[in-house]
């Protein structure tokens, strides 16, 4: 298998397999979660659960000052890499084309050097969170292999994509192939690791917020 065959394979059958597992996995996981149900609440509500749920979905993007000071690295580095990932994944022209081909619609892209800069910043932020995870007593204690796997499958696509774009180390075809392959690994493990929080975060915030809304707790 030469590098072009490899690139064709990752773009072809491998991508289809990964996409299949990703989509089926996502749906399956949501069923797994929702099937467990929730008991009817007989307490007379003080507020609207729906409103509380929606409020918490948005409010938790921010934090209070004291919490910010206590968890500054987590919050700042976390924000930087989340925004960076968003920009890199969704606003690079080549990526927009992929979404267009899968979803049937696309959106405007940013210029390539801008996305490139975001990729660098994102990688730095990810390295920072990794070091922080290894050094912070609580984070290190809480971390399971799954946490490191999730980090790696997020970081490697960024690195390979960056290297493919800048023609580093290997030929661009090989690097592009490795880049796409690493994304496929990400897609496959996504529904079954903590990466799933990308979707369940809204569910969790809503459930928590609904409970707060019902109790009339405004934060």
């Amino acid at each position: 298998m030469n590098e072009v065959d490899f690139l064709l394979w990752v773009k072809g059958s491998a991508f289809n397999i990964a996409l299949f597992i990703f989509v089926a996995g996502l749906v399956l996981r949501l069923f797994e979660i929702l099937s467990l149900g929730r008991k009817v609440n007989y307490a007379v509500p003080k507020g609207d659960p729906m409103q509380g749920g929606l409020r918490e979905i948005f409010r938790r993007f921010g934090t209070d000052k004291a919490t910010f000071q206590r968890s500054m690295i987590t919050i700042v580095a976390g924000y930087v890499f989340h925004i960076g990932l968003f920009v890199v994944i969704f606003l690079l022209a080549a990526h927009v084309e992929v979404f267009k081909s899968v979803l049937g619609f696309g959106w405007p892209n940013l210029s390539t050097p801008v996305v490139d800069a975001f990729a660098v910043v994102t990688m730095i932020a990810l390295v920072v969170v990794l070091i922080h995870r290894l050094q912070h007593p609580v984070k290190r204690f809480l971390s399971s292999p799954g946490d490191y796997v999730a980090w790696a499958v997020t970081f490697v696509p960024l690195l390979t994509g960056y290297m493919a774009y800048h023609h580093l180390l290997l030929s661009p075809q090989m690097m592009l192939g490795l880049h796409i392959l690493s994304v496929e690994v990400l897609l496959i493990v996504f529904p079954f690791t903590k990466l799933m929080h990308t979707f369940t975060v809204f569910l969790s915030r809503w459930y928590n917020g609904a409970s707060m809304g019902l109790r009339g707790v405004k934060s």
């Binding site: 030469n2 590098e3 072009v4 065959d5 690139l7 064709l8 773009k11 072809g12 059958s13 991508f15 289809n16 996409l19 299949f20 597992i21 990703f22 989509v23 089926a24 996995g25 996502l26 749906v27 399956l28 996981r29 949501l30 069923f31 797994e32 929702l34 099937s35 467990l36 149900g37 022209a93 080549a94 990526h95 084309e97 992929v98 267009k100 081909s101 899968v102 979803l103 049937g104 892209n109 940013l110 210029s111 390539t112 050097p113 801008v114 023609h167 030929s171 661009p172 075809q173 592009l176």
Partner: protein
Amino acid sequence: MRMQTPSPYEQTLGEHLRSQGISRRSFLKFCGLLASSMALAPSMIPKIAEALEQAKRPSVIWLSFQECTGCTESLTRSHSPSLEGLIFDAISLDYHHTLQAASGDAAEHAREEAMKEHYGKYVLVVDGSIPLDNPGYSTIAGISNLDMLKEAAAGAAAIIAVGTCAAYGGLPKADPNPTGAVSVSDIIKDKPIINVPGCPPIPVVITGVIAHFLTFGLPELDSLGRPKAFYGQSIHDRCYRRPFYERGLFAETFDDEGAKAGWCLYKLGCKGPVTYNACATTKWNDGTSFPIESGHGCIGCSEPNFWDFGGFYKALSIPTGASGKNAVYAAAAGIAAGVAIGAMNKKSKAEAASSHQTVTVEELNQESGS
């Protein structure tokens, strides 16, 4: 073209060219072009000239298998006075069934003669792929391509696989590859093979490779067997539209404002970023232009399997399969599996709830007392 010239091999190339009335000036110009196309320093020009002058005209046997003659056309349609022509004067093309005057037994006889006479020294040029499924798919004078290649390769000093078909299988190998087509390098493992892919290859690249072989021997090759001198840079890297790529300005259709303004053709399927060839620098038609200048993206013709690269008009990053449909099937499968595991979860939870035994304070105290 000189066929059957009496003992042409005794003359050096320099002598031969002078006897053909080629001026020293034209010769040096050719050497200069070779140097630049091979990315050699200008100081190398005299060395090339000297080496070429001293080189003996080699015997060349050109075999055409499953091909369209486009590669030969590319060479012969080049402009006049053709520098490519010069180099063809510099070799002794002893067999080329499209170009030679002889036909039938006489032609095959010439080939056998040349192979016998120059055994171990001749250069074998191949264009076209070789069918493996059934030898009858492509034969010459009743000899299968496979047999002829093996026989001719045995006595060759080196093999030049001209065109993507000979180099990587090309169009005949495109999915579903009905003839079981393979490349020269899939069959011949014990001879140096220089791949000169392209559909067709750039004329000066073909001649440049031959010239390099004559002067400096085998050129340095990349992992796909291509001379690095000509295939060392991607189309994308040398493309004059690259600044638009960097700025994120892309033509969305072939007739929109972006296309008219000459923006990057990535979204229209340009394969420049993963295509290695000299088009953007050497250009075509006597240096006139290359496809991207005509407003069409690179189709990646110098790369293996370029026909199956997911469509000439689909952006490079786009997966080749029917992803949208696949995603719908995946969602359906996810729902089916989800309903099943959901039912299991519900059942399991209901069982847990029904097997709950009421906790009493007596039990609490009993446990803590024990």
